[in-house]
């Protein structure tokens, strides 16, 4: 680095800068009106930008409030308690075709299966990357891998699930015909693919939480003689419970709202159609419907033409998804009280 030299004043005088200078007034009038930033003096592009910005912000508000208010209005208009609690039947007459109990159960089932599969894998991957992470190329590869999964369209995941679970080894997961052809569509298969949807969210939340734990917490645990495994199990993971829950809630929201995988991987039955003979597993091995596929099928895009039922089911679905997101806020807030840094997700 060159040694700093003595500053020199300008040798030749430069012409004055062509910038506006207003004289102002010597003393402001009694009622002081502060001349702040009046947009009149801005450049034209600035003014256009300012107006566009306000337009964008207000439009966004209007659209958001409009959508939510509309769905609430239609939902309250068409939702009746008997719809939630009665089974759907296939009837040309809409008044007799029942409600959406089975799809509702289907949504709950699929969400639980998906998140139960995703969470352990996501926690394991995040913990490995943060706490072990050697060799580094592998850690980066896994990181990119999860990003790739996050960016993959859900129908590609659905098609992948179809080809994967139609292989013979996975015959136990769904209906297998006598000739060996595996159907490939069931709650288990759809749930397994849904776990891929939720995986990146739980992974990201857990990783952020673990990275936010200051080094001295780990060092204190090692100094007491605990192994790394014990530290992870007893110290680190319990302290990121809030982060994991946040990620899981976000993942569940995404699973509950996904339709493409359901359409491809859950079969087309309106009701829960168990398959096989083992008492609980038969429901999982069978096909069914979820609220999302129910809404899709009842809209003009599907076979059914019952927009009222579609609105009602959509409203229930919206309540579930928004409820999960609200739970994220609650968890994040209560996690803050516990003292350790929690994830930013949902906290803004």
């Amino acid at each position: 680095m060159a040694t700093p030299t003595r500053p020199r004043s300008s040798a030749t005088p430069l012409p004055p800068l062509p910038l506006p200078r207003t004289p102002g007034t010597p003393k402001a009038p009694k009622k002081k009106k502060r001349v702040n930033e009046s947009i009149r003096t801005w450049r034209l592009t600035d003014r256009i930008g300012y107006v566009l910005m306000w337009a964008a912000g207000l439009t966004l508000c209007a659209i958001g409030i409009g959508i939510l208010a509309f769905m609430a209005f239609k939902g309250v208009q068409y939702l009746r308690p008997d719809l939630i609690f009665s089974h759907p039947t296939v009837e040309p007459d809409q008044s007799k075709s029942g409600g959406f109990l089975d799809p509702l159960l289907g949504t709950i089932l699929i969400t639980l299966i998906g998140i139960l599969i995703a969470t352990p894998i996501a926690i394991a991957a995040a913990t490995w990357i943060v706490e072990f992470g050697r060799p580094t190329w592998l850690a980066r590869l896994i990181d990119s891998g999860i990003e790739i999964i996050a960016g993959t369209p859900d129908i590609v995941i659905a098609l992948f699930g179809l080809v994967l679970f139609q292989q013979g080894i996975f015959g136990w997961m769904s209906f297998t015909a006598a000739g060996g052809a595996v159907f490939g569509r069931s709650f288990l298969t759809a749930g397994a693919m849904m776990s891929l949807i939720a995986l990146p969210m739980v992974f990201a939340a857990t990783r952020e939480g673990l990275q936010a734990i200051p080094a001295h917490v780990r060092e204190a645990s090692y100094a007491l003689g605990k192994t790394k495994a014990a530290t992870i199990r007893r110290v680190l993971l319990p302290s990121v419970k809030a982060n994991i829950s946040t990620g899981a809630a976000l993942g569940m929201g995404r699973i509950a709202g996904d339709t493409a995988i359901i359409v491809v991987l859950l079969g087309a039955s309106l009701r829960l159609d168990p398959e096989g003979s083992i008492p609980f597993l038969r429901v999982l091995q069978g096909t069914g419907a979820t609220l999302t596929s129910y809404v899709y099928n009842n809209s003009p895009a599907g076979e059914g033409n019952a927009p009222q039922k579609a609105y009602a089911a959509a409203f229930v679905l919206l309540l579930i998804v928004l409820g999960l997101n609200f739970a994220v806020d609650l968890i994040a807030r209560s996690g803050k009280k516990s003292g350790l840094e929690t994830s930013r997700l949902g906290a803004r």
Partner: protein
């Protein structure tokens, strides 16, 4: 009795007496035949400094500035953050050709006062201002705030160059202020001039597109000074500009200030009393929002009229 010429220490670790009780640990014997380390008597210079003789500091800065026309004047300024009065009824002149040093302990309101001078306190929602500040005779409230800030520039404590090239940093003020965007070739002489005045030109002349964030701390601060000078302000405000820098850069920037004061009015807030003595021509001592004393530097430092000033300068608190 300890034998002073014995030069061993007792090494036995088992302090057990004959009947098995634990004995207190033995006294380690001090080896006395080593040469003792003797503290040297204080030199003349350090004695003089300790007694408040500022001859060394005075030798580091040969002349005081000659005050020119008054550029800004503060009358009866009070600044409130909510209910808290951070600056209480302060009146000061700010003249071209001299450096005004604001000194005082932390929290005394000097930074608030400085930031009020270029209306940066308005960024805080709870801030409120009373009193009059004029710039060249005009009430600053009657001016457009962006224009006011062009004429009263500020250099911050932490160097904050933008994540752009050196050229773009210095040219930023020039590009964004006018109504038309000037061409790069038109801006070049002004940028080079500003960099020369800031004493940075020789170090960056070979590549003006060098990323500003890759400069050293002292260079970044000089870049910020160049950036502030580019639009030819009338007043330069400096908020502890050297506190984050090494002594060499501090020295360069103090020389720079001495050079710049002929064209500008400079107000500098500093924690460092020696720096205030070296650099300042007039000194304003603030304490808890009040302006306790204002006067020429030599007078305030050698003959303060307020007791509190005397205590602060003597180091009784701060």
């Amino acid at each position: 009795m300890i034998d002073p010429h014995e030069s061993t220490t007792d090494r036995s670790d088992l302090h057990v007496s004959q009947n098995g009780d634990a004995l207190p640990p033995p006294i380690r014997r001090i080896a006395l035949d080593r040469q003792p380390t003797v503290a040297l008597p204080p030199s003349q210079d350090s004695v003089a400094l300790a007694n408040g003789d500022r001859s060394l500091a005075a030798a580091a800065r040969p002349t005081r500035g000659i005050a020119g026309p008054e550029r800004m004047s503060i009358s009866g300024l009070s600044v409130f953050y909510g209910d808290n009065e951070a600056v209480k009824n302060v009146s000061l002149p700010i003249r071209q050709g001299e450096v005004l040093a604001l000194i005082g302990p932390s929290g005394c309101g000097k930074t608030t006062l400085l930031r009020t001078l270029n209306r940066l306190t308005e960024l805080t929602a709870s801030a409120r201002r009373e009193g009059l500040i004029t710039l060249d005779g005009a009430d600053i409230d009657s001016l457009e705030v962006t224009e006011h800030r062009r004429r009263v520039s500020m250099v911050f404590q932490q160097p904050n160059p933008f994540p752009m090239s050196v050229f773009d940093n210095v040219a930023y003020a020039l590009r964004e202020q006018g109504s038309k965007r000037p061409k790069k070739s038109a801006l070049e002489p002004y940028v080079i001039d500003a960099l020369q005045r800031a004493g940075l030109y020789d170090e960056v002349a070979d590549n003006l597109d060098h990323p500003a964030l890759r400069l050293s701390g002292g260079q970044q601060q000089r870049l910020c000074i160049a950036r502030a000078l580019a639009a030819r302000p009338e007043v330069l405000l400096m908020d502890e500009p050297c506190s984050a820098l090494d002594p060499k850069s501090t020295n360069v920037i103090e020389e720079l200030i001495t050079e710049l004061r002929t064209d500008l009015a400079i107000v500098i807030v500093t924690h460092n009393l020696q720096q205030a003595y070296r650099v300042g021509d007039h000194v304003a001592f603030m304490y808890l929002g009040d302006l306790v004393e204002y006067g020429p530097t030599d007078q305030v430092f050698d003959n303060p009229s307020a007791d509190r000033t005397r205590d602060y300068i003597g180091g009784a608190f701060g």
